[in-house]
């Protein structure tokens, strides 16, 4: 029981990170119908940016952890957002009115570029960071097992909740959010009523990248180590989460993320750690067989 609760906590934490990345996938898919293959690598860039920012701040003399964390968060979000913007401008915008497969290939190419760029720039070795946030709380004990909730876990989940709330507010209440929803419904019509479609799409990518940066920072703090390859697996899982929750649906992305995090954690805790990735995919396939549009997806009625 205690073990289960611990896995629950761990799973939700991991799921929050996946959820933040999944939002980026689902937003971009919702607005231009494209699977942004490079998004996972944007997450990786975010993690690296956070790492380097930390090192620089420490060298410069900012050692107070909360302050450093805050600054790193800002820097990582800003710079990673810049990457998201640049990738969209260079690799996707020229293909916006092109055929379906072209942006996909472009995205795969960008993914290769980003991975190798970081590998060349920073070396292929893993990069460790000493744990910055220590400590936590022991929730309760029993059966020789103490259920611990670490501070970093609290930070991850709370940050995610705050961002989700802010983001949902933005989509539902602000003009940008309204523009985004309009573009999602009908891009041509949105342009015809005067919405700056290019800008809305750019901002979608920017926001998605910023959220991925937060996920990268959380990943860095939680696992303490990054390398240029974390983008691929995290990206695929996050996309799986987006599809599981119903692609195009924001709460779906977060729900899917949490589910994938829980499945992965539970499976490695109770069954086998080697096959944990398989478990996530298997669940996806099973869910899609019965719910072809995902859990919170809008059922598409074929209009003929």
């Amino acid at each position: 029981m205690e073990y289960f609760v611990q896995q629950l906590i761990n799973g939700i934490t991991l799921g929050s990170i996946y959820g933040l990345i999944a939002i980026g996938y689902t937003m971009v898919y919702g607005i231009i119908g494209m699977i942004n293959f490079a998004h996972g690598d944007i997450f990786m860039v975010g993690a690296f940016t956070a790492l380097i920012a930390f090192l620089v701040l420490v060298a410069v003399g900012v050692t107070a952890v909360p302050l450093a964390l805050f600054l790193v968060l800002l820097v990582a979000m800003a710079l990673t957002a810049l990457y998201g913007w640049t990738v969209e401008r260079i690799a996707y915008r020229p293909l916006r009115h092109s055929f379906r497969l072209a942006p996909l290939i472009s995205a795969i190419g960008m993914s290769i570029v980003l991975q190798n760029y970081v590998q060349v720039a920073q070396g292929a070795r893993v990069k460790p960071l000493p744990p910055l946030i220590r400590g936590g709380y022991t929730l309760f004990e029993g059966n020789d097992f103490a259920v611990r909730l670490s501070n970093i876990q609290i930070i991850v989940v709370v940050t995610t909740l705050i961002l989700m709330a802010g983001f949902s507010f933005m989509v539902a209440r602000t003009r940008l959010g309204r523009n985004m929803r309009a573009c999602e419904q009908d891009l041509k019509m949105a342009a015809l009523v005067g919405i700056d479609v290019d800008r809305t799409i750019s901002l979608t990518f920017v926001i998605g990248a910023a959220l991925a940066a937060v996920a990268g920072l959380m990943f860095l703090l939680y696992y303490g180590v990054v390398d240029f390859f974390i983008g691929f697996l995290a990206g695929v899982k996050a996309f799986t989460a987006a599809v599981l929750g119903g692609i195009g649906s924001l709460p779906g992305a977060m729900l899917g993320g949490i589910l994938i995090g829980l499945i992965e954690t539970m499976w490695s805790a109770y069954f086998s750690i080697e096959y944990k990735d398989v478990a996530a995919f298997a669940v996806l396939i099973i869910v899609l067989i019965f719910l072809p549009t995902g859990i919170l997806g809008r059922p598409e009625v074929e209009k003929v």
């Binding site: 699977i35 993914s111 570029v113 460790p128 000493p130 695929v236 799986t240």
Partner: protein, 449 residues
């Protein structure tokens, strides 16, 4: 009536100045963006220091150079290309383009002729022979995936799964039962086709993007199973000592019963390599022939109809489920045959050879080849793999350039190298269909118009 006075020459330099100013602004913004992108990731270099903790060095000189290069490059582009909206396409005169498409038929024949002669031309160059085998192998994979993606329009992101099934099936069957290559090869193909049916079955109702992620998932699942099911597959160590092919019973050794001795030739390890090359070439040509035949049969037309409009296909009485399944399993079979060849050529296989990167590469070859065209696939495979090899000296930058090239090519020619579709049957005259009208694989919602 007198001519209106020419505009005063004063305004010209003013206009030019504004142009330069705008260009400089554009370049400055680009440089600023470049600075933001690269300041931390290039400007700072992290390394593991002596204690294992991370230390860093600064490379601000390099950063400055790159930012400056971006500035200058953007400035030049803004100044020179502003008026000359020239695309490379428009530089080629129409007559050349028309001639080019007529030549396409001859190009295919020339390609095949060249392919047949490669071992003769490059007999002494082992490196080229190995590269040629690699290119033909990927061409064959491209042909197989072409059936699924190019003809039927099903977005399969996990094609490597069938490559792997073929390779491992071959290896296990050959090792366990000691059967000859010529029996194990079709068996591997059949097993891969079966895998195609198995994997295809659950995904048929899914629309394009979901199909994509599920097939990607399958590819990963297969790789993870291969990695972890140690008893069967040897896990990360893979399977080694896979039986090498023989020339219809004559082994390629220096022994007296060997190939060289039998034909009175001086023994050379190149014999086996040449044999392998012709073997994979035969397989690729077989795949090509079957695909071209199938295109002209009802099943091939049904695949293309499926890609063009699934709803209309159903309304005409086509069983779209079985149509998709046959596309999947045919594609899988050819992938499996390629995998079996790969296993026997290498003598050793491990899960490392079957990552998502392979699926992505084959998909890129099919898409960059264009329009479900077989010739396009062959050319794309040659260009991509050949190009990759050419840049061997660049070492770590090679993959980076490869990815960038992929992006550049698809932006320049989004439908791929071949820009027309050739109909499979004609009443009066075979007329090519331009790319703009033809559907490509679905990635998203079926937009009802």
């Amino acid at each position: 009536m007198s001519e209106p006075a020419p505009p005063p020459r004063e305004s010209e330099p003013a206009a030019k100045r504004l142009d330069v100013l705008a260009a400089v602004k554009e370049a400055a913004i680009a440089a600023l963006v470049a600075f933001g992108l690269f300041v931390l990731l290039i400007g700072i270099r992290t390394e593991q220091g002596p204690t294992g903790a991370l230390v860093f060095t600064t490379r601000f000189g390099l950063l400055a150079e790159i930012v400056a290069a971006v500035f200058v490059g953007r400035l030049l582009r803004a100044l020179t290309w502003r008026d000359a909206t020239v695309s490379i396409n428009s530089l080629v005169p129409g007559s050349v383009k028309a001639a080019a498409s007529d030549l396409a038929v001859y190009a295919a024949a020339a390609f095949v002729a060249f392919a047949l002669l490669v071992p003769i031309i490059f007999y002494t160059n082992r490196y080229v022979l190995d590269l040629a085998i690699l290119i033909v192998t990927y061409t064959m994979l491209g042909f197989g995936l072409n059936i699924v993606v190019g003809l039927a329009g099903l977005l399969d992101l996990g094609y490597v799964a069938f490559y792997a099934v073929g390779a491992y099936s071959y290896a296990l069957i050959a090792q366990s039962f000691g059967l000859s290559f010529w029996i194990c090869l079709p068996l591997a193909g059949i097993l891969a086709a079966f895998a195609g049916l198995l994997l295809g079955f659950p995904v048929l109702r899914l629309r394009g993007d979901y199909l994509a992620i599920v097939t990607l998932g399958f590819g990963e699942i297969i790789r993870l199973i291969l990695l972890n099911w140690q008893d069967l597959t040897g896990g990360p160590n893979g399977i080694s000592a896979i039986p090498r092919p023989s020339f219809f019973g004559l082994p390629f050794t220096a022994a007296d019963n060997g190939f060289a001795a039998t034909f009175g030739l001086q023994y050379s390890p190149t014999h086996r390599v040449v044999f392998l090359y012709y073997l994979v070439l035969a397989l690729a040509l077989l795949t090509n022939w079957v695909t071209l035949r199938l295109r002209r049969l009802p099943i091939g037309r049904a695949w293309e109809a499926l890609r063009e409009d699934e709803i209309a296909s159903r309304a005409l009485g086509i069983n779209t489920t079985t149509t998709k399944l046959t596309a999947f399993s045919m594609g899988a079979m050819f992938g499996g045959l390629a995998g079996a060849f790969f296993a026997t050529r290498q003598g050793f296989i491990s899960p490392e050879s079957f990552t998502f990167g392979e699926s992505a590469l084959v998909l890129a070859i099919v898409v960059l080849g264009g329009m479900g065209s077989q010739l396009g696939v062959a050319v794309a495979a040659t260009a991509m793999l050949g190009g990759f090899e050419l840049f061997r000296e660049f070492d770590q930058y090679r993959m980076l350039v490869f990815g960038a090239a992929m992006v550049a090519i698809v932006i320049y020619r989004p439908r791929g190298l071949v820009s027309t579709r050739t109909p499979s049957v004609f009443l009066h005259q075979r007329k090519a269909v331009p790319a703009a009208i033809v559907q490509d694989a679905r990635t998203g919602v079926e937009t009802p118009t």
